[in-house]
Amino acid sequence: MVEIASDKPLTLAEKVWRDHVVVRGKDNDGQRAPDLLYIDLHLVHEVTSPQAFEGLRLAGRPVRRPDLTIATEDHNTPTLEIDKPIADPISRIQVDTLRANCEEFGIRLHSLGDANQGIVHVVGPQLGLTQPGMTVVCGDSHTSTHGAFGSLAMGIGTSEVEHVLATQTLSLKPFKTMAVTVNGTLKPGVSSKDIILAVIAEIGTGGGQGYVLEYRGTAIEQLSMEARMTICNMSIEAGARAGMVGPDETTFDYVQGRPHAPTGEEWDTAVEYWRSLRTDEGAEFDAEVVIDADQLEPFVTWGTNPGHGVSLNDAVPQPTDFDDPVDRESAERALEYMDLEPGTRMKDIRVDTVFLGSCTNSRLEDLRKAAEIIRGRHKDPQVRMIVVPGSAQVRLEAEAEGLDQVFKDFGAEWRFAGCSMCLGMNPDQLAPGERCASTSNRNFEGRQGKGGRTHLVSPVVAAATAIRGTLSAPSDVLLPEPTPA
């Protein structure tokens, strides 16, 4: 998307980009310098912001648009006893620093205990602040989540957080575009998490580098907003700078009526604009990947990066299955860390913990789907299951429909909202050697706790796994046991 001529058919990403250019990058020796883009929404949390606010303070700069900025506490927050001071003094200082900074710079903050506290990527959409055609940034790589609304949403580093606070703009190099076309229809028990794990297994953790991915095709059109958010959320695990879905009726229905959604005539004007953002007929993508949803089975990771995924029906691969010596070495190392033997059936792998939560899969729909599987059953006695709603609001909504009781009756722990065991910045961590089926987004070494071993799964696979104690598909727990012939 180097040149954007007005008569050329455009992709969704190109249109959103076009509508936010403040200053076009100059040509610099045959290469275009970055464009300066306007940022519509800046989400802030306690971890990546303190040094940015300190930078502003030292330079005597204000926040240019506090009215386009919102903050919440999520990474460090405990999920138990939230009415008590945060026990870890370093976590407490970081959260207190955010509170002081928001006070000083006039930024709206949703603190622990507030109904809109929670994972920043759950809170934005829930408030209706994430809308189609916007530019959204946050000092968190999973900002790509918001692309599900057809907005251009990117994770940024702390220097860029400071830049956006000071200028409400960001210098961005033009992206390439990649169509990820998912044809067909998902089978029962297969979720959008399985689509994105399959995409990453296909293109690799670096396959999306330099690209904005646009997820399209019948299987994507059939997905709910929650399910689209799961897919866009993990675009970063394919190395992409962002992931997007064209806004449609599903998008508009989700946004309408939320606290910050346009109303009355403004709503109609907004929808008309949002409809115009869809990729034009004949627009060209720089690359395309095609996935057949009909063939997809529940996916699970076996290794230590999100590209290390296989169908749940498969076995742990042999390092010799990989042609590239770099991939082979990575697989050998991963198998050693994960303590897995090649050839072991994925479904024979026993887990110690099941984590249902994170910005990938902690919305009401995720909790409902998991609850459907476990309702009236009891977890495997050897397994501990932790359920962490994405926001305080999600927790309240889940409780209003009795989901908390379903989880408690099952033997799971029902917690308060936050990032929790996805990255273990709060007390929710795996012990060394502990194995976890997790609905989160990263299976990196030590991510969920030092020495912890992570298998990424969908919420329904997490639920089925908690019932049997071994990695399991929903069909494994719903079908009657086979009778001997």
């Binding site: 403040v22 306007y38 970081q94 809109n116 809308q131 220097s159 409400q168 910050h260 990263r442 030590g446």
Partner: protein, 199 residues
């Protein structure tokens, strides 16, 4: 930010692909509110292994990290760059960098130089054969020398210019204040604002 034009220093061979940000600096160190002092956090888990490259006397004081493809994948944490910088690294070499890591490096004057994987392999061999091998990186000519390996690296013009000038991004952008104001005056009023609180 200190301008960089050339750098010469000892190389550290890190024979590994997908060096993710959780390995560069685990999340527990992200609780700090300072921007310096992250040297001890760098590769925290791996440094517990006595065989890890940075625990070998010969490589301890290296300033050029030579890693496998897909360096810096995962999180947006700029702490990964701060940790490398605070440890003393001036240059990281890999055939592919994760986008956010790449952009964060440039903000802190850490040069992320893209070198083709076959050349990375040759550099690993040189550095393993003789740990005292120096690497010289020249930003002006985009060239790199490591023992008998003489090659070029890839970097976009804009990032190279900013590194060589040592420019502060915010001051650069604030020169465009009028253009930002003009853009703001045309933004549709239906775009959401976070204030006042509407919940």
């Amino acid at each position: 930010m200190e301008p960089i034009t050339t750098h010469t220093g000892t190389g550290v061979p890190l024979r590994q692909s997908n060096v993710d940000t959780d390995q560069i600096i685990p999340a527990v160190f992200l609780k700090r509110i300072t921007k310096t002092g992250f040297e001890d956090a760098l590769f925290y888990a791996w440094r517990k292994n006595p065989d890890f490259v940075l625990n070998q006397e010969a490589y301890k004081n290296g300033t050029v990290l030579v890693a496998g493809p897909d360096f810096g994948t995962g999180s947006s944490r700029e702490h990964a760059v701060w940790a490398l910088r605070d440890y003393g690294f001036k240059v990281v070499i890999s055939s592919r960098f994760a986008d956010i890591f790449y952009s964060n490096s440039a903000k802190q004057g850490l040069l992320a130089a893209k070198v083709a994987q076959p050349d990375v392999e040759l550099m690993w061999k040189e550095l393993e054969k003789d740990p005292a091998t120096e690497i010289t990186v020249d930003l002006e000519s985009r060239t790199l020398r490591c023992g008998t390996v003489d090659t070029t690296f890839e970097i976009d013009n804009y990032t190279r210019w900013r590194l060589m000038e040592g420019l502060d991004d915010i001051s650069l952008t604030l020169r465009q204040d009028a253009a930002i104001g003009a853009y703001e005056s045309t933004r549709p009023s239906l775009k959401p604002t976070t204030l006042p609180v509407k919940v």
